[in-house]
Amino acid sequence: MSTAVTTPVGRMTALARAELTLLGRSKGTLFAALFVPLVLPFSAQMAAKEMDLAEVGLTLGTVILPASIGFSLLYAVYATLVAVYTARREELVLKRLRTGELKDTEILAGAALPAVATGLAQSLVLAVGCTVLLDVGAPRAPHLAVLGLLLGVVLCASLAAVTSSFTRTVESAQVTTLPVLFLSMIFSGMFVPLEVLPDRVASVCELLPLTPVITLVRGGWTGGLSAYEVIGPVMTGLAWAVLGVLAVRRWFRWEPRR
Protein backbone atom coordinates (compact mmCIF):
# COMPACT_ATOMS: atom_id res chain seq x y z
CA MET A 1 0.00 0.00 0.00
CA SER A 2 1.29 3.41 -0.83
CA THR A 3 1.82 5.99 1.87
CA ALA A 4 1.56 8.77 -0.67
CA VAL A 5 -1.37 10.97 -1.59
CA THR A 6 -3.90 9.11 -3.73
CA THR A 7 -4.49 9.98 -7.37
CA PRO A 8 -7.74 9.75 -9.32
CA VAL A 9 -6.32 6.85 -11.35
CA GLY A 10 -5.16 5.04 -8.22
CA ARG A 11 -8.52 5.47 -6.52
CA MET A 12 -10.51 4.34 -9.54
CA THR A 13 -8.22 1.34 -10.00
CA ALA A 14 -8.81 0.25 -6.40
CA LEU A 15 -12.56 0.59 -6.89
CA ALA A 16 -12.56 -1.12 -10.29
CA ARG A 17 -10.60 -4.03 -8.89
CA ALA A 18 -13.18 -4.57 -6.16
CA GLU A 19 -15.99 -4.26 -8.72
CA LEU A 20 -14.33 -6.85 -10.94
CA THR A 21 -14.22 -9.27 -8.00
CA LEU A 22 -17.89 -8.56 -7.33
CA LEU A 23 -18.83 -9.05 -11.00
CA GLY A 24 -17.15 -12.46 -10.88
CA ARG A 25 -19.23 -13.37 -7.83
CA SER A 26 -22.57 -12.20 -9.16
CA LYS A 27 -23.65 -15.14 -11.27
CA GLY A 28 -26.86 -13.59 -12.59
CA THR A 29 -25.21 -10.39 -13.74
CA LEU A 30 -22.28 -12.27 -15.20
CA PHE A 31 -24.61 -14.52 -17.18
CA ALA A 32 -26.55 -11.59 -18.60
CA ALA A 33 -23.35 -9.71 -19.42
CA LEU A 34 -21.44 -12.54 -21.06
CA PHE A 35 -23.98 -14.92 -22.49
CA VAL A 36 -26.91 -12.83 -23.76
CA PRO A 37 -24.90 -10.69 -26.21
CA LEU A 38 -23.43 -13.85 -27.71
CA VAL A 39 -26.83 -15.46 -28.26
CA LEU A 40 -28.92 -12.53 -29.48
CA PRO A 41 -27.07 -12.14 -32.80
CA PHE A 42 -28.49 -15.52 -33.85
CA SER A 43 -32.06 -14.32 -33.44
CA ALA A 44 -31.16 -11.09 -35.21
CA GLN A 45 -29.78 -13.20 -38.01
CA MET A 46 -33.08 -15.00 -38.44
CA ALA A 47 -34.91 -11.68 -38.62
CA ALA A 48 -32.40 -10.31 -41.10
CA LYS A 49 -32.81 -13.26 -43.45
CA GLU A 50 -36.48 -12.31 -43.94
CA MET A 51 -35.53 -8.90 -45.28
CA ASP A 52 -34.45 -7.81 -48.70
CA LEU A 53 -31.12 -6.37 -47.67
CA ALA A 54 -29.39 -6.27 -51.00
CA GLU A 55 -31.92 -3.74 -52.24
CA VAL A 56 -30.72 -1.20 -49.63
CA GLY A 57 -27.06 -2.05 -50.12
CA LEU A 58 -26.57 -4.17 -46.98
CA THR A 59 -25.47 -7.73 -46.37
CA LEU A 60 -26.25 -10.14 -43.56
CA GLY A 61 -22.86 -9.38 -42.08
CA THR A 62 -23.20 -5.60 -42.09
CA VAL A 63 -26.53 -5.97 -40.28
CA ILE A 64 -25.49 -8.57 -37.72
CA LEU A 65 -22.12 -7.10 -36.81
CA PRO A 66 -23.36 -3.68 -35.61
CA ALA A 67 -26.34 -5.38 -33.98
CA SER A 68 -23.99 -7.68 -32.06
CA ILE A 69 -21.99 -4.75 -30.78
CA GLY A 70 -25.26 -3.05 -29.84
CA PHE A 71 -26.35 -6.12 -27.85
CA SER A 72 -23.02 -6.13 -26.09
CA LEU A 73 -23.32 -2.44 -25.18
CA LEU A 74 -26.89 -2.91 -23.98
CA TYR A 75 -26.36 -6.04 -21.90
CA ALA A 76 -22.71 -6.08 -20.85
CA VAL A 77 -22.57 -2.34 -20.18
CA TYR A 78 -26.04 -0.82 -19.79
CA ALA A 79 -28.04 -3.53 -18.00
CA THR A 80 -25.04 -4.65 -15.93
CA LEU A 81 -24.33 -1.14 -14.73
CA VAL A 82 -27.96 -0.47 -13.80
CA ALA A 83 -27.72 -3.51 -11.51
CA VAL A 84 -24.30 -2.50 -10.18
CA TYR A 85 -25.23 1.11 -9.39
CA THR A 86 -28.51 0.04 -7.82
CA ALA A 87 -26.93 -2.70 -5.70
CA ARG A 88 -24.19 -0.38 -4.44
CA ARG A 89 -26.70 2.29 -3.55
CA GLU A 90 -28.99 -0.12 -1.72
CA GLU A 91 -26.05 -1.51 0.29
CA LEU A 92 -25.05 2.10 1.12
CA VAL A 93 -21.72 1.51 -0.61
CA LEU A 94 -22.09 4.67 -2.70
CA LYS A 95 -22.75 6.70 0.43
CA ARG A 96 -19.71 5.14 2.11
CA LEU A 97 -17.51 5.86 -0.90
CA ARG A 98 -18.64 9.48 -0.87
CA THR A 99 -17.27 9.94 2.66
CA GLY A 100 -13.78 9.35 1.29
CA GLU A 101 -11.44 11.02 -1.15
CA LEU A 102 -13.11 9.67 -4.31
CA LYS A 103 -14.92 12.31 -6.34
CA ASP A 104 -18.44 11.56 -7.50
CA THR A 105 -17.40 11.02 -11.10
CA GLU A 106 -14.57 8.74 -9.97
CA ILE A 107 -17.06 6.57 -8.07
CA LEU A 108 -19.33 6.20 -11.10
CA ALA A 109 -16.45 5.70 -13.53
CA GLY A 110 -14.47 3.34 -11.28
CA ALA A 111 -17.52 1.18 -10.66
CA ALA A 112 -18.23 1.13 -14.41
CA LEU A 113 -14.76 0.07 -15.55
CA PRO A 114 -15.16 -3.75 -15.34
CA ALA A 115 -18.48 -3.66 -17.22
CA VAL A 116 -17.07 -1.27 -19.82
CA ALA A 117 -14.01 -3.46 -20.29
CA THR A 118 -16.26 -6.49 -20.66
CA GLY A 119 -18.35 -4.68 -23.28
CA LEU A 120 -15.30 -3.56 -25.25
CA ALA A 121 -13.67 -7.00 -25.17
CA GLN A 122 -16.93 -8.62 -26.19
CA SER A 123 -17.41 -6.16 -29.04
CA LEU A 124 -13.94 -7.02 -30.27
CA VAL A 125 -14.66 -10.76 -30.15
CA LEU A 126 -18.01 -10.29 -31.88
CA ALA A 127 -16.49 -8.08 -34.55
CA VAL A 128 -13.77 -10.61 -35.28
CA GLY A 129 -16.29 -13.46 -35.16
CA CYS A 130 -18.67 -11.76 -37.59
CA THR A 131 -15.82 -10.76 -39.88
CA VAL A 132 -14.69 -14.36 -40.13
CA LEU A 133 -18.02 -16.23 -40.04
CA LEU A 134 -20.22 -13.86 -42.07
CA ASP A 135 -17.59 -12.82 -44.55
CA VAL A 136 -17.87 -9.09 -43.80
CA GLY A 137 -14.34 -8.14 -44.61
CA ALA A 138 -12.14 -5.58 -42.88
CA PRO A 139 -13.73 -2.28 -41.83
CA ARG A 140 -13.31 0.39 -44.52
CA ALA A 141 -13.52 3.30 -42.07
CA PRO A 142 -12.33 1.85 -38.73
CA HIS A 143 -12.17 5.29 -37.10
CA LEU A 144 -15.95 5.59 -37.42
CA ALA A 145 -16.44 2.18 -35.81
CA VAL A 146 -14.15 3.14 -32.92
CA LEU A 147 -15.92 6.50 -32.53
CA GLY A 148 -19.29 4.75 -32.48
CA LEU A 149 -18.11 2.23 -29.93
CA LEU A 150 -16.69 4.87 -27.57
CA LEU A 151 -19.82 6.98 -27.94
CA GLY A 152 -21.85 3.87 -27.17
CA VAL A 153 -19.89 3.13 -23.99
CA VAL A 154 -20.32 6.66 -22.62
CA LEU A 155 -24.01 6.69 -23.58
CA CYS A 156 -24.75 3.30 -22.05
CA ALA A 157 -22.91 4.10 -18.82
CA SER A 158 -24.69 7.42 -18.33
CA LEU A 159 -28.06 5.94 -19.34
CA ALA A 160 -27.40 3.20 -16.77
CA ALA A 161 -26.76 5.74 -14.03
CA VAL A 162 -29.94 7.63 -14.94
CA THR A 163 -32.01 4.41 -15.08
CA SER A 164 -30.58 3.32 -11.74
CA SER A 165 -31.81 6.57 -10.20
CA PHE A 166 -35.33 5.32 -10.79
CA THR A 167 -34.60 1.74 -9.72
CA ARG A 168 -35.09 0.76 -6.12
CA THR A 169 -33.81 -2.82 -6.07
CA VAL A 170 -31.63 -5.05 -8.21
CA GLU A 171 -34.73 -7.16 -8.97
CA SER A 172 -36.68 -4.17 -10.28
CA ALA A 173 -33.72 -3.36 -12.55
CA GLN A 174 -34.96 -6.22 -14.75
CA VAL A 175 -38.06 -4.11 -15.43
CA THR A 176 -36.65 -0.59 -15.44
CA THR A 177 -34.08 -1.50 -18.08
CA LEU A 178 -36.72 -2.81 -20.52
CA PRO A 179 -37.70 0.50 -22.18
CA VAL A 180 -34.14 1.32 -23.23
CA LEU A 181 -33.39 -2.31 -24.17
CA PHE A 182 -36.52 -2.75 -26.32
CA LEU A 183 -36.57 0.67 -27.90
CA SER A 184 -32.93 0.34 -28.85
CA MET A 185 -33.17 -3.19 -30.18
CA ILE A 186 -36.26 -2.51 -32.28
CA PHE A 187 -35.87 1.10 -33.40
CA SER A 188 -32.14 1.79 -33.34
CA GLY A 189 -31.34 -0.31 -36.37
CA MET A 190 -30.31 -3.47 -34.58
CA PHE A 191 -32.96 -6.03 -35.46
CA VAL A 192 -34.29 -3.93 -38.31
CA PRO A 193 -31.93 -1.65 -40.25
CA LEU A 194 -33.36 1.84 -40.59
CA GLU A 195 -32.77 1.57 -44.33
CA VAL A 196 -35.71 -0.83 -44.71
CA LEU A 197 -38.09 1.32 -42.65
CA PRO A 198 -40.36 4.02 -44.13
CA ASP A 199 -38.52 7.36 -44.29
CA ARG A 200 -40.70 9.11 -41.74
CA VAL A 201 -40.28 6.35 -39.16
CA ALA A 202 -36.58 6.16 -39.88
CA SER A 203 -36.02 9.85 -39.27
CA VAL A 204 -37.62 9.56 -35.82
CA CYS A 205 -35.56 6.45 -35.07
CA GLU A 206 -32.41 8.35 -35.95
CA LEU A 207 -32.96 10.48 -32.88
CA LEU A 208 -32.84 7.56 -30.44
CA PRO A 209 -29.70 7.36 -28.28
CA LEU A 210 -28.26 4.14 -29.64
CA THR A 211 -29.05 4.75 -33.32
CA PRO A 212 -25.95 6.90 -33.98
CA VAL A 213 -23.80 4.20 -32.40
CA ILE A 214 -25.17 1.51 -34.71
CA THR A 215 -25.03 3.83 -37.72
CA LEU A 216 -21.40 4.74 -37.08
CA VAL A 217 -20.30 1.14 -36.46
CA ARG A 218 -22.07 -0.03 -39.62
CA GLY A 219 -20.62 2.87 -41.54
CA GLY A 220 -17.21 1.94 -40.22
CA TRP A 221 -17.47 -1.42 -41.91
CA THR A 222 -19.27 -0.49 -45.13
CA GLY A 223 -17.40 2.77 -45.60
CA GLY A 224 -20.70 4.02 -47.01
CA LEU A 225 -21.01 7.22 -44.97
CA SER A 226 -19.88 10.49 -46.51
CA ALA A 227 -18.28 13.09 -44.26
CA TYR A 228 -21.58 14.96 -44.40
CA GLU A 229 -23.56 11.86 -43.42
CA VAL A 230 -21.30 11.35 -40.41
CA ILE A 231 -22.15 14.73 -38.90
CA GLY A 232 -25.77 13.82 -38.14
CA PRO A 233 -25.17 10.70 -36.05
CA VAL A 234 -22.14 12.24 -34.32
CA MET A 235 -24.16 15.29 -33.28
CA THR A 236 -27.08 13.15 -32.13
CA GLY A 237 -24.74 10.88 -30.17
CA LEU A 238 -22.92 13.78 -28.54
CA ALA A 239 -26.21 15.46 -27.69
CA TRP A 240 -27.37 12.29 -25.93
CA ALA A 241 -24.04 11.95 -24.13
CA VAL A 242 -24.27 15.55 -22.85
CA LEU A 243 -27.92 15.04 -21.88
CA GLY A 244 -26.99 11.81 -20.11
CA VAL A 245 -24.24 13.44 -18.09
CA LEU A 246 -26.50 16.35 -17.14
CA ALA A 247 -29.28 13.95 -16.17
CA VAL A 248 -26.87 12.01 -13.95
CA ARG A 249 -25.79 15.19 -12.21
CA ARG A 250 -29.40 16.21 -11.75
CA TRP A 251 -31.08 12.95 -10.81
CA PHE A 252 -28.54 10.41 -9.64
CA ARG A 253 -29.35 9.17 -6.15
CA TRP A 254 -26.44 8.29 -3.89
CA GLU A 255 -28.57 6.94 -1.07
CA PRO A 256 -31.69 4.79 -0.94
CA ARG A 257 -34.98 6.60 -0.50
CA ARG A 258 -35.94 6.79 3.14
Partner: protein
Protein backbone atom coordinates in the same frame (compact mmCIF):
# COMPACT_ATOMS: atom_id res chain seq x y z
CA UNK B 1 -15.26 27.62 26.89
CA UNK B 2 -11.56 28.11 27.33
CA UNK B 3 -10.28 26.76 24.06
CA UNK B 4 -8.32 29.05 21.81
CA UNK B 5 -10.33 30.13 18.79
CA UNK B 6 -7.61 28.93 16.42
CA UNK B 7 -7.71 25.43 17.76
CA UNK B 8 -11.32 24.81 16.81
CA UNK B 9 -11.19 21.82 14.54
CA UNK B 10 -14.95 21.72 14.07
CA UNK B 11 -17.10 24.83 14.10
CA UNK B 12 -20.84 24.73 13.64
CA UNK B 13 -22.89 27.91 13.56
CA UNK B 14 -26.69 28.03 13.44
CA UNK B 15 -26.72 24.87 11.35
CA UNK B 16 -29.92 23.79 9.64
CA UNK B 17 -30.88 20.81 7.57
CA UNK B 18 -34.16 20.37 5.74
CA UNK B 19 -35.05 17.19 3.86
CA UNK B 20 -36.81 17.04 0.53
CA UNK B 21 -40.23 16.58 2.05
CA UNK B 22 -39.79 19.77 4.09
CA UNK B 23 -38.92 18.02 7.36
CA UNK B 24 -36.51 20.17 9.35
CA UNK B 25 -34.17 17.67 11.00
CA UNK B 26 -31.61 20.17 12.29
CA UNK B 27 -33.01 23.48 13.52
CA UNK B 28 -30.19 25.87 14.16
CA UNK B 29 -27.44 24.35 16.29
CA UNK B 30 -24.13 25.89 17.29
CA UNK B 31 -21.12 24.21 18.85
CA UNK B 32 -17.40 23.81 18.38
CA UNK B 33 -14.88 21.07 19.02
CA UNK B 34 -11.26 21.76 19.93
CA UNK B 35 -8.25 19.81 18.72
CA UNK B 36 -7.81 16.53 20.56
CA UNK B 37 -11.27 16.69 22.10
CA UNK B 38 -13.83 13.91 22.17
CA UNK B 39 -17.23 15.48 21.59
CA UNK B 40 -20.44 13.47 21.86
CA UNK B 41 -23.80 14.26 20.29
CA UNK B 42 -26.33 12.56 22.48
CA UNK B 43 -29.98 12.12 21.70
CA UNK B 44 -32.87 9.77 21.17
CA UNK B 45 -33.61 8.32 17.75
CA UNK B 46 -34.74 11.07 15.45
CA UNK B 47 -33.12 13.82 17.50
CA UNK B 48 -31.02 14.89 14.51
CA UNK B 49 -27.66 13.31 15.40
CA UNK B 50 -26.99 11.58 12.10
CA UNK B 51 -28.44 14.47 10.10
CA UNK B 52 -25.94 16.74 11.83
CA UNK B 53 -22.94 14.43 11.44
CA UNK B 54 -23.64 13.99 7.73
CA UNK B 55 -23.35 17.74 7.30
CA UNK B 56 -20.02 17.72 9.15
CA UNK B 57 -18.82 14.85 6.96
CA UNK B 58 -19.70 16.91 3.89
CA UNK B 59 -22.23 14.42 2.54
CA UNK B 60 -24.87 17.10 2.17
CA UNK B 61 -25.08 20.85 1.97
CA UNK B 62 -26.73 22.59 4.94
CA UNK B 63 -30.04 24.39 4.41
CA UNK B 64 -28.67 27.19 6.54
CA UNK B 65 -25.84 28.13 8.84
CA UNK B 66 -22.17 27.28 8.57
CA UNK B 67 -19.91 24.27 9.05
CA UNK B 68 -16.14 24.39 9.18
CA UNK B 69 -13.97 21.33 9.57
CA UNK B 70 -10.24 22.06 9.84
CA UNK B 71 -11.12 25.58 8.70
CA UNK B 72 -12.74 24.44 5.46
CA UNK B 73 -16.24 23.87 4.16
CA UNK B 74 -16.49 20.05 4.17
CA UNK B 75 -18.97 20.05 1.28
CA UNK B 76 -17.49 22.61 -1.09
CA UNK B 77 -13.85 21.94 -0.22
CA UNK B 78 -14.21 18.20 -0.09
CA UNK B 79 -10.88 17.50 -1.77
CA UNK B 80 -8.99 19.39 0.94
CA UNK B 81 -10.88 18.04 3.94
CA UNK B 82 -11.38 14.36 3.09
CA UNK B 83 -7.75 13.22 3.25
CA UNK B 84 -7.68 14.45 6.86
CA UNK B 85 -10.92 12.95 8.13
CA UNK B 86 -12.11 9.44 8.90
CA UNK B 87 -15.77 8.53 8.80
CA UNK B 88 -17.73 5.69 10.32
CA UNK B 89 -21.30 5.78 9.07
CA UNK B 90 -24.20 4.60 11.15
CA UNK B 91 -24.67 1.65 8.84
CA UNK B 92 -22.00 -0.35 7.03
CA UNK B 93 -21.91 0.39 3.35
CA UNK B 94 -19.76 -2.47 2.18
CA UNK B 95 -20.48 -4.82 -0.71
CA UNK B 96 -21.69 -7.97 1.01
CA UNK B 97 -19.88 -10.30 -1.39
CA UNK B 98 -16.38 -8.94 -0.73
CA UNK B 99 -14.20 -10.38 2.01
CA UNK B 100 -12.96 -8.29 4.90
CA UNK B 101 -9.46 -8.15 3.41
CA UNK B 102 -10.75 -7.21 -0.06
CA UNK B 103 -12.88 -4.46 1.43
CA UNK B 104 -9.96 -3.06 3.40
CA UNK B 105 -7.67 -3.24 0.37
CA UNK B 106 -10.18 -1.41 -1.79
CA UNK B 107 -10.59 1.32 0.80
CA UNK B 108 -6.84 1.57 1.35
CA UNK B 109 -6.46 2.33 -2.36
CA UNK B 110 -8.70 5.35 -1.87
CA UNK B 111 -7.07 6.77 1.27
CA UNK B 112 -3.99 9.01 1.26
CA UNK B 113 -1.22 7.71 3.48
CA UNK B 114 -3.10 4.51 4.21
CA UNK B 115 -1.65 2.15 6.78
CA UNK B 116 -1.34 -1.51 5.81
CA UNK B 117 -4.92 -2.84 5.97
CA UNK B 118 -3.79 -5.76 8.09
CA UNK B 119 -2.65 -3.38 10.87
CA UNK B 120 -6.02 -1.73 11.30
CA UNK B 121 -7.84 -5.06 11.09
CA UNK B 122 -5.62 -6.27 13.93
CA UNK B 123 -6.32 -3.08 15.85
CA UNK B 124 -10.05 -3.82 15.89
CA UNK B 125 -9.60 -7.57 16.33
CA UNK B 126 -10.72 -8.60 12.85
CA UNK B 127 -7.44 -10.01 11.53
CA UNK B 128 -8.77 -13.54 12.01
CA UNK B 129 -11.76 -12.76 9.79
CA UNK B 130 -9.75 -11.39 6.85
CA UNK B 131 -11.06 -14.01 4.41
CA UNK B 132 -14.66 -13.96 5.56
CA UNK B 133 -17.26 -12.31 3.32
CA UNK B 134 -18.83 -9.18 4.75
CA UNK B 135 -22.32 -10.72 4.57
CA UNK B 136 -21.23 -13.43 7.00
CA UNK B 137 -20.03 -10.98 9.66
CA UNK B 138 -22.09 -10.28 12.75
CA UNK B 139 -23.45 -6.79 13.32
CA UNK B 140 -20.71 -6.08 15.82
CA UNK B 141 -17.99 -7.30 13.46
CA UNK B 142 -19.31 -5.02 10.74
CA UNK B 143 -19.13 -2.08 13.12
CA UNK B 144 -15.52 -2.96 13.86
CA UNK B 145 -14.70 -3.26 10.15
CA UNK B 146 -16.22 0.18 9.67
CA UNK B 147 -14.07 1.53 12.49
CA UNK B 148 -10.98 -0.08 11.00
CA UNK B 149 -11.59 1.63 7.65
CA UNK B 150 -12.21 4.98 9.31
CA UNK B 151 -8.77 4.63 10.94
CA UNK B 152 -6.91 3.56 7.77
CA UNK B 153 -5.57 7.01 6.96
CA UNK B 154 -4.62 8.06 10.52
CA UNK B 155 -7.19 10.88 10.34
CA UNK B 156 -6.88 14.10 12.31
CA UNK B 157 -10.63 14.22 12.74
CA UNK B 158 -12.75 11.14 13.25
CA UNK B 159 -16.53 11.04 12.86
CA UNK B 160 -18.13 8.05 14.55
CA UNK B 161 -21.88 7.66 14.09
CA UNK B 162 -23.08 5.29 16.80
CA UNK B 163 -19.80 3.36 16.90
CA UNK B 164 -20.87 0.80 19.48
CA UNK B 165 -24.45 0.06 18.46
CA UNK B 166 -24.74 -3.70 18.08
CA UNK B 167 -21.53 -4.43 20.00
CA UNK B 168 -21.52 -6.62 23.09
CA UNK B 169 -20.26 -5.27 26.40
CA UNK B 170 -16.69 -6.37 25.73
CA UNK B 171 -16.61 -5.01 22.20
CA UNK B 172 -17.99 -1.73 23.47
CA UNK B 173 -15.25 -1.47 26.09
CA UNK B 174 -12.60 -2.27 23.46
CA UNK B 175 -13.92 0.49 21.24
CA UNK B 176 -13.87 2.94 24.15
CA UNK B 177 -10.26 2.04 24.87
CA UNK B 178 -9.39 2.59 21.23
CA UNK B 179 -11.09 5.99 21.13
CA UNK B 180 -9.31 7.05 24.33
CA UNK B 181 -6.00 5.97 22.82
CA UNK B 182 -6.72 8.02 19.69
CA UNK B 183 -7.66 11.04 21.76
CA UNK B 184 -4.43 10.73 23.72
CA UNK B 185 -2.57 10.67 20.41
CA UNK B 186 -4.22 13.98 19.46
CA UNK B 187 -7.11 12.85 17.26
CA UNK B 188 -10.26 14.94 17.41
CA UNK B 189 -13.30 12.70 17.71
CA UNK B 190 -16.94 13.56 17.14
CA UNK B 191 -19.26 10.70 18.01
CA UNK B 192 -22.97 10.20 18.29
CA UNK B 193 -24.53 7.81 20.72
CA UNK B 194 -27.69 7.06 22.57
CA UNK B 195 -25.79 5.28 25.32
CA UNK B 196 -25.50 7.64 28.26
CA UNK B 197 -22.60 5.84 29.89
CA UNK B 198 -20.72 6.04 26.60
CA UNK B 199 -21.05 9.81 26.47
CA UNK B 200 -20.35 10.16 30.18
CA UNK B 201 -17.26 7.97 30.14
CA UNK B 202 -15.77 8.97 26.81
CA UNK B 203 -16.65 12.55 25.99
CA UNK B 204 -14.75 15.62 27.11
CA UNK B 205 -17.79 17.64 26.14
CA UNK B 206 -21.21 16.77 24.86
CA UNK B 207 -24.42 18.21 23.52
CA UNK B 208 -27.82 16.69 24.03
CA UNK B 209 -29.89 17.02 20.88
CA UNK B 210 -33.62 17.05 20.95
CA UNK B 211 -35.85 17.58 17.94
CA UNK B 212 -33.04 19.17 15.99
CA UNK B 213 -31.97 21.59 18.69
CA UNK B 214 -29.32 21.50 21.39
CA UNK B 215 -31.17 21.04 24.66
CA UNK B 216 -28.06 21.03 26.87
CA UNK B 217 -24.32 21.26 26.28
CA UNK B 218 -21.05 21.33 28.18
CA UNK B 219 -18.80 18.88 29.97
CA UNK B 220 -20.63 15.87 31.37
CA UNK B 221 -20.20 17.46 34.83
CA UNK B 222 -21.65 20.79 33.69
CA UNK B 223 -24.63 19.23 32.00
CA UNK B 224 -25.24 17.09 35.03
CA UNK B 225 -24.87 20.00 37.46
CA UNK B 226 -27.55 21.96 35.64
CA UNK B 227 -29.96 19.16 36.39
CA UNK B 228 -31.88 18.70 39.66
CA UNK B 229 -31.32 15.82 42.04
CA UNK B 230 -34.28 13.54 42.70
CA UNK B 231 -35.98 12.27 45.79
CA UNK B 232 -38.80 9.79 45.43
CA UNK B 233 -40.87 8.01 48.06
CA UNK B 234 -44.29 6.58 48.74
CA UNK B 235 -46.56 8.28 51.26
CA UNK B 236 -48.59 6.03 53.53
CA UNK B 237 -52.40 5.89 53.28
CA UNK B 238 -54.02 9.09 54.46
CA UNK B 239 -51.07 11.37 53.76
CA UNK B 240 -50.82 13.81 50.84
CA UNK B 241 -48.19 16.10 49.38
CA UNK B 242 -49.91 18.98 51.13
CA UNK B 243 -48.94 17.43 54.45
CA UNK B 244 -45.25 17.94 53.71
CA UNK B 245 -43.54 21.16 54.79
CA UNK B 246 -43.86 23.92 52.14
CA UNK B 247 -41.93 22.54 49.17
CA UNK B 248 -40.31 25.82 48.17
CA UNK B 249 -38.96 26.15 51.69
CA UNK B 250 -37.48 22.64 51.42
CA UNK B 251 -35.53 23.74 48.37
CA UNK B 252 -37.68 21.67 46.04
CA UNK B 253 -37.93 23.08 42.52
CA UNK B 254 -40.56 20.76 41.14
CA UNK B 255 -42.63 17.72 41.99
CA UNK B 256 -44.77 15.00 40.50
CA UNK B 257 -47.40 12.87 42.14
CA UNK B 258 -48.25 9.46 40.73
CA UNK B 259 -50.79 7.76 42.99
CA UNK B 260 -49.07 7.64 46.36
CA UNK B 261 -45.59 7.98 44.84
CA UNK B 262 -44.09 11.45 45.13
CA UNK B 263 -41.07 12.61 43.14
CA UNK B 264 -39.28 15.78 44.15
CA UNK B 265 -36.67 17.63 42.16
CA UNK B 266 -34.15 19.89 43.85
CA UNK B 267 -30.89 21.68 43.34
CA UNK B 268 -30.28 21.57 47.09
CA UNK B 269 -30.30 17.86 47.74
CA UNK B 270 -28.99 17.92 51.32
CA UNK B 271 -31.46 20.57 52.47
CA UNK B 272 -34.45 18.93 50.82
CA UNK B 273 -33.56 15.46 52.06
CA UNK B 274 -32.93 16.67 55.60
CA UNK B 275 -36.23 18.61 55.79
CA UNK B 276 -38.11 15.65 54.39
CA UNK B 277 -36.61 13.15 56.82
CA UNK B 278 -36.97 15.44 59.81
CA UNK B 279 -40.62 15.94 58.91
CA UNK B 280 -41.20 12.19 58.49
CA UNK B 281 -39.50 11.46 61.82
CA UNK B 282 -41.57 14.12 63.58
CA UNK B 283 -44.84 13.05 61.98
CA UNK B 284 -44.10 9.38 62.57
CA UNK B 285 -44.44 8.67 58.86
CA UNK B 286 -42.75 5.70 57.25
CA UNK B 287 -41.63 6.74 53.71
CA UNK B 288 -41.86 3.69 51.47
CA UNK B 289 -39.34 2.95 48.70
CA UNK B 290 -37.31 6.00 49.61
CA UNK B 291 -34.81 6.83 46.86
CA UNK B 292 -32.43 9.79 46.99
CA UNK B 293 -30.46 10.29 43.82
CA UNK B 294 -27.84 12.86 42.83
CA UNK B 295 -28.15 14.47 39.41
CA UNK B 296 -26.83 12.34 36.57
CA UNK B 297 -26.54 12.54 32.84
CA UNK B 298 -29.37 10.06 32.67
CA UNK B 299 -31.49 12.45 34.69
CA UNK B 300 -30.55 15.26 32.34
CA UNK B 301 -31.48 13.13 29.37
CA UNK B 302 -34.77 12.00 30.85
CA UNK B 303 -35.50 15.53 31.95
CA UNK B 304 -35.26 16.70 28.38
CA UNK B 305 -37.51 13.91 27.18
CA UNK B 306 -39.95 14.74 29.95
CA UNK B 307 -40.07 18.40 29.05
CA UNK B 308 -40.75 17.41 25.49
CA UNK B 309 -43.58 15.15 26.50
CA UNK B 310 -44.93 18.16 28.37
CA UNK B 311 -45.81 16.00 31.34
CA UNK B 312 -49.15 17.36 32.49
CA UNK B 313 -48.57 16.52 36.11
CA UNK B 314 -45.35 18.53 36.34
CA UNK B 315 -45.58 21.81 38.15
CA UNK B 316 -42.61 24.10 38.14
CA UNK B 317 -41.79 26.43 40.99
CA UNK B 318 -39.91 29.62 40.48
CA UNK B 319 -36.35 28.69 41.39
Amino acid sequence: MNIDEHEHVIEVTDLRRVYGGGFEAVRGITFSVGRGEVFALLGTNGAGKTSTVELLEGLARPAGGRVRVLGCDPYAERAVVRPRTGVMLQEGGFPSELTVAETARMWAGCVSGARPPRDVLELVGLAGKADVRVKQLSGGERRRLDLALALLGDPEVLFLDEPTTGLDAEGRRDTWELVRGLRDAGTTVLLTTHYLEEAEGLADRLAILHEGRIAAAGTPAEVTAAQPARISFELPEGYFVGDLPPLAEMGVSGHEVDGRVVRLRTHQLQRAATRLLVWAEGAGVELGRLDVRAASLEEAFLGIAREAAGAAKTKEYAA
